[in-house]
Amino acid sequence: MARDEDVLTTVEWLLLAAIMRNDNSAYGSVIFDTATELARPIKVAYGSLYPTLERLERRGFLSSSFSEPTPERGGRSRRYFNVTASGKKAMKRSEMLARRIVGTDAAWGIA
């Protein structure tokens, strides 16, 4: 039985999908650009990017690792995010739940 915290919100699902689209390893700006591209014409708020990624990491759906710091970035390193096995399961679970709720297209009057 899935608990409510195992089900993903739309933004969470979108960010996980954006990481998966980039060979399951991506950093902030790439995740945001991919998510914006996937969600178009709906706009994704940049402000919600890191809080959502960090929440997913706390829940075990994402893992992160730091790259080597580079001088042109002022000694800062990049944080790469990867979708974990439980993250992939959560994506599948949310997708199945959405399908179950919607049922068939005919039930909503969608051709």
């Binding site: 950093y27 902030g28 700006s29 945001f32 708020a45 940049y46 402000g47 919600s48 990017l49 890191y50 809080p51 001088p71 042109e72 970035r73 002022g74 800062r76 390193s77 990049r78 944080r79």
Partner: protein
């Protein structure tokens, strides 16, 4: 085995000229020697007689007038080295950077990395003024959302604590 620490040589070049379109350019690279530094300064000055060339190395600051030393027509050279000090297009407005102090160190690094990815593209696409606005907007959103997230988490903890009572 004794490890001998090799002192990293650093040379900084600055070219400044009133007549030149480029008023001031700084290039810094660890592997730059005197001749290479001079060549780059001459390239920046492009043979402009009003351009002075200043370079800094381990022995101190040196100033040379290109007028006195550079040939009339300098050979074109392409600088392929990686500058440690980025070009103006790759540096963010300082006030926008200071706004990031409201964030945690980890989040600040992430946001700065992202903005530095986008900023040169924005400058090229929209111009500096609108690029700065876009930069402010993204950083502002990140700061506000970060604060809101913190409040929500505090609310969650308080809610759990009250629920447990």
């Amino acid at each position: 085995v004794s490890k001998k620490r090799k002192k990293k040589k650093r040379t900084t070049v600055s070219a400044r000229g009133a007549k030149s379109q480029i008023q001031s350019v700084f290039i810094s690279h660890s592997d730059l020697d005197h001749q290479a530094a001079f060549d780059i300064a001459a390239e920046i000055g492009n043979g402009d007689s009003g351009v002075d060339f200043m370079y800094v190395d381990d022995s101190g600051v040196h100033t040379v007038q290109l007028k006195a030393t550079a040939p009339t027509r300098m050979p074109r050279k392409v600088w392929t080295g990686l500058p440690e000090k980025p070009h103006r297009d790759f540096t963010l407005p300082p006030a926008a950077e200071s706004m990031l102090l409201l964030m945690s160190r980890a989040r600040r690094n992430d946001v700065l990395n992202d903005i530095m990815d986008w900023y040169p593209g924005w400058v090229a696409e929209k111009g500096r003024f609108r690029a700065n606005l876009a930069c402010w907007w993204r950083i502002g959103m990140a700061v506000l959302r970060g604060l809101l997230d913190l409040l929500l988490r505090i609310g969650e903890i308080v809610g759990k604590f009250r629920g447990a009572k």
